[in-house]
Subunit: 198 residues, 2 copies
């Protein structure tokens, strides 16, 4: 097929999105071409508008159309509680769970010896600067339960210790609805160690 | 979430595409927002360009940036062979298979008593007019092997009979790589009836 063809070009770009292969991209393009004014042009405009408006929040690193982002601007939130996350996807997931009423700090990754990611590649200094400004009561490390996530949490705990601030991390245990027989041994052992009185 | 937010608006539009749910739409948006100039703006432009350029071919009904489409303009193809398909998706599938070296005719659907689709809703008159112009040696009915597809094939065969033209349809049988024990009875019976000497 001709790559200069507008249909093939569009299919190729759509197929690069996560979750869409070439086959489903083709199906989506065909569906959109049935009513271009209703589906195609609004999507083109929404992409353009989002690319123009959305930028990282200068305070926490969230992606939003406003800077500071709407979370950092929300004065009804607990401003002394900072939840440190790996990326924006994790921030959005916590927001969808309505689980955290404080603010966030996006690290932009985790430390990785193999990946060559050091502390200077992450938003560590801005986090320390935020805390140095005062008003922070607790830092929650909501990092992934992986080797790199644990290394990052360990490193941050070391850096935060001199500030004499409560540093917490997410509980580990059996996920909601999780059947015990399909859980990995690490999770089971962690859940058993952290058992609580009923 | 705020529907006027450019991120939520974009996620909502993307989530309407076949094959993408809200979760994968959100992942795709997040991925694109990481490098808006590389992924987002080119996609917006490709959508706009396709919406502006692509239209149905006045001869066969294929969707293409040119009218007549590149298949109808291709004089190396067998112009006396017309393959009748339900929609553009089926036409593209046959093209990907490099299975047909003639031309096409897109009906725009199949007859459906339940769906209230009659012959006047399909591109039947334009097909008869094409054939009346002469030069057609054979009409291949490549319609779906469903009740509606069979009814449509039956109707078209009736309409084409007076023109005294060979009318053929796709063979039915065991699909390539198909295990017999998971095939439905209808396909097995059709394959057995149409058995051939080895």
């Amino acid at each position: 097929m001709d790559p200069h063809d507008p249909i093939e070009h569009l299919v190729g770009l759509l197929a690069k999105l996560p979750g869409l292969g070439r086959r489903s991209a083709r199906r989506a393009v065909l569906r959109m071409l049935m009513k271009p004014e209703v589906q195609m042009l609004p999507l083109a405009e929404a992409l353009r508008a989002a690319a123009a408006a959305v930028k990282p929040c200068g305070i926490c690193g969230n992606l939003d159309a406003e800077d500071p982002c709407r979370i950092c601007r929300d004065h009804t939130r607990e401003r002394g509680l900072i939840c440190v996350v790996e990326g924006v996807a994790e921030l959005w997931a916590l927001e969808r769970a309505h689980a955290h009423r404080g603010l966030y700090h996006v690290l932009g990754g985790t430390l990785s010896a193999l990946g060559g990611v050091g502390p200077e590649d992450l938003s560590v200094q801005p986090l320390l600067a935020r805390i140095a400004e005062g008003g922070v009561d607790e830092v929650i490390l909501a990092l992934p339960a992986t080797v790199d996530g644990a290394a990052t949490a360990h490193y941050l705990t070391d850096r935060l210790r001199p500030l004499d601030l409560p540093v917490t991390r997410l509980a580990q245990g059996v996920p909601m609805g999780g059947a015990l027989d399909v859980l990995d041994e690490g999770t089971l052992a962690a859940a058993l160690r952290a058992r609580r009185a009923v």
